[in-house]
């Protein structure tokens, strides 16, 4: 249902309710139900608030330039997260260069060109839906078997990035397809009526119109990959790395470093973990904020 009709129907509903309000008393069940709804909603909000408060309380005393500038160390006073932060940024760049174009191309094919009624197209769609819900640790097993051991890449940054890329594909494909679907058919028909080929219409009209939606979905997918821990444990990211990583060197990323610090017994490392969490959350919130801003700024209403 489109916007104005919906608003009108909401107003109509409210008017009817107001006129009936005098005659209707609120039943006990209705009140209890409303309390349940408000309680449910509050739990999520309060949990997020308490979580952020706890992290800031534990982490702020440990948040200093050493954390950003130094390498991990057995001495908590000197320990930092620099190699992990660099590795996280490098993985993001690899994902932008590899997984994102593949995911967007898949979405364009399925939405604009694929013969929708063929069984193999339906199989691809079903497969993508299912991949989106497979536990991330399973992708870690895939990486362990094929990239690290099978191809003999070893526990290097590229292997970790590729696994996160495969894991990211379905999420980005699904959101990019929604963005393409939101572009009305009149745009495509207009272009074709002027003599453009299907490919020209998609490349010059549909894709530019869908870019805000695609970018938003891509950034959200990227930020999920940056925060991922489990599959990288499987492909050997849990090593002690004190140097700046390269594509084919061993590495550790921010979430893995946090995981390792949490496991250490000294209280100082718990504080460092909380401080590193603040850094991780700052990166993710910046990315998500940018995505939301872009959605609001560039989204077109058709």
């Amino acid at each position: 249902m489109n916007g104005p009709t919906r608003t009108a129907s909401v107003h109509a509903t409210r008017a009817v309710e107001r006129s009936l309000a005098g005659r209707r008393h609120r039943s006990l069940a209705a009140s209890v139900f409303l309390v349940y709804l408000l309680f449910s909603t509050l739990v999520g909000l309060v949990a997020l608030f308490v979580l952020l408060f706890t992290i800031l309380r534990d982490g702020l005393p440990y948040l200093d330039p050493t954390l950003l500038a130094n390498a991990p160390s057995a001495n908590p006073a000197l320990a930092g997260a620099r190699p992990a932060i660099i590795a996280s940024v490098m993985i993001a760049l690899v994902l932008i260069a590899t997984a994102l174009p593949i995911a967007i191309a898949t979405a364009v094919y399925l939405e604009e060109f694929a013969p929708k009624d063929r069984w193999w197209i339906r199989l691809i769609e079903l497969n993508i839906q299912n991949l989106a819900a497979i536990p991330s640790i399973i992708f870690g097993i895939l990486g362990l078997a094929f990239l690290v051991r099978g191809l003999g890449l070893g526990p290097v940054l590229l292997a970790g990035a590729l696994i996160l890329g495969l894991q990211m594909l379905p999420t980005v494909i699904i959101s990019a397809r929604e963005a393409l679907r939101a572009v009305p058919d009149s745009v495509r028909q207009g272009g074709m009526a002027l003599g453009a080929t299907r490919l020209q219409v998609v490349w010059r009209e549909v894709l530019p119109a869908a870019i805000p939606g695609i970018a938003t979905g891509s950034i959200l997918g990227l930020s999920r990959a940056i925060g991922e821990t489990a599959p990288l444990l499987m492909v050997g990211a849990a090593t002690f790395v004190s140097y700046n990583p390269g594509l084919l060197t061993q590495y550790t990323v921010l979430p893995i470093l946090i995981y390792q610090w949490i496991k250490l017994p000294q209280a100082d490392f718990q504080g460092l973990a909380a401080a590193a969490i603040i850094v991780l959350l700052a990166i993710l919130i910046t990315m998500n904020g940018f995505a939301i801003w872009m959605r609001n700024r560039y989204e077109r209403k058709w």
């Binding site: 919906r6 129907s9 509903t13 009936l20 069940a29 139900f33 709804l37 408000l38 309680f39 449910s40 909603t41 739990v43 999520g44 949990a47 997020l48 308490v50 979580l51 706890t54 992290i55 593949i102 191309a105 898949t106 364009v108 094919y109 060109f113 694929a114 079903l126 993508i128 299912n130 991949l131 819900a133 497979i134 536990p135 640790i137 399973i138 870690g140 097993i141 362990l144 094929f146 051991r149 594909l169 490919l199 925060g227 991922e228 821990t229 489990a230 444990l233 499987m234 050997g236 979430p255 946090i258 995981y259 949490i262 718990q270 909380a274 969490i277 991780l280 959350l281 993710l284 939301i292």
Partner: protein
């Protein structure tokens, strides 16, 4: 050009084929050495010890234990949030609550694991409940918090897909908002709501980092919330992260447990996808 695009679409199929091959080949080798009967029916799990024991039941009960507590949070509260957002909230409240829940859904699991271990568990102990440092309850509750926004968002989508004419007809007959929500909207959206529940259960079973940090790695059959347990995912991650010699029986257990996990979540996902199809067909 279109061929290149189609090739990209095929990659997603290759990923699934790759996963199945990666899981099946070592698992088949595993089951030539350990009988499926021992694996699925005995309750002693000690694959890295000598003598080794390969009964997967402790990992399955451990997974059920954390998943149960996750469900007590995310199913009822996710549904309540969805009904509130879809049927009760004014647009301005929605505009605040929805983005906050999106932020909660985007918190990395390692952060939630930290929260479970350093906030929730000490809180339970200070309330006088002597849970173990690593326990199924804390991990499960926090998984529930992680999944609450997912259930809320998917269930709300299902309720939004219920045509307004159903609500208006009901209001016109004198029903109040409570009656419209519980007797018209929720029943009409039930397959979508059920799908969100099944998907949440599947995600809770597959969640790794939170249980690895907060639930421990003690493989024994226990349904006590305060006990330390080991889940299937925690075993896979802990063993995969360690230095297990390739080709050894311990190495192959990773894949046998992985295959078990994959089959369970695959079945749940297929059920969820089918349910979503059903509610789409009715109203579109």
């Amino acid at each position: 050009m279109i061929g290149v695009l189609a090739l990209c679409a095929v990659i997603s199929i290759l990923v699934t084929v790759g996963i199945v091959v990666a899981l099946m080949v070592p698992s088949l080798e595993f089951f030539t050495e350990v009988s499926p009967a021992e694996f699925f029916t005995t309750a002693k799990w000690a694959p890295l010890f000598k003598p080794a024991a390969f009964g997967v039941l402790p990992l399955i009960t451990g997974t059920l234990n954390t998943t149960f507590w996750a469900c007590t949070i995310c199913l009822p509260l996710g549904l309540g949030t969805a009904i509130y957002l879809s049927e009760y909230a004014r647009p301005r409240a929605r505009a605040v609550i929805k983005p906050v829940l999106e932020v909660l859904a985007g918190i990395p699991t390692v952060v939630l694991g930290y929260f479970a271990l350093t906030f929730l568990t000490p809180l339970l102990r200070s309330l006088g409940w002597q849970v173990e440092i690593f326990n199924a309850f804390s991990a499960g509750i926090i998984i529930g918090v992680l999944l609450l926004p997912t259930v809320a968002s998917l269930s709300e989508d299902a309720m939004k897909a219920v045509p307004s004419s159903l609500r208006e007809g009901s209001f016109g007959l004198g029903a109040n908002r409570f009656q419209v929500s519980t007797r018209v909207v929720v029943p009409a959206a039930i397959s979508g709501i059920a799908a969100s529940f099944v998907l949440a259960i599947s995600r809770a079973i597959g969640e790794t980092t939170i249980v690895l940090i907060a639930a421990g790695q003690l493989a024994h059959v226990s349904f006590m919330p305060g006990d330390s347990v080991e889940t299937m995912t925690a075993f896979i991650a802990a063993t995969g992260a360690g230095d297990v010699p390739v080709g050894s029986i311990s190495y192959k257990t990773i894949f046998a447990v992985g295959l078990t996990l994959f089959v369970i979540t695959l079945l749940l996902n297929i059920v969820a996808i089918r349910m979503v199809r059903r509610f789409r067909e009715v109203y579109e």
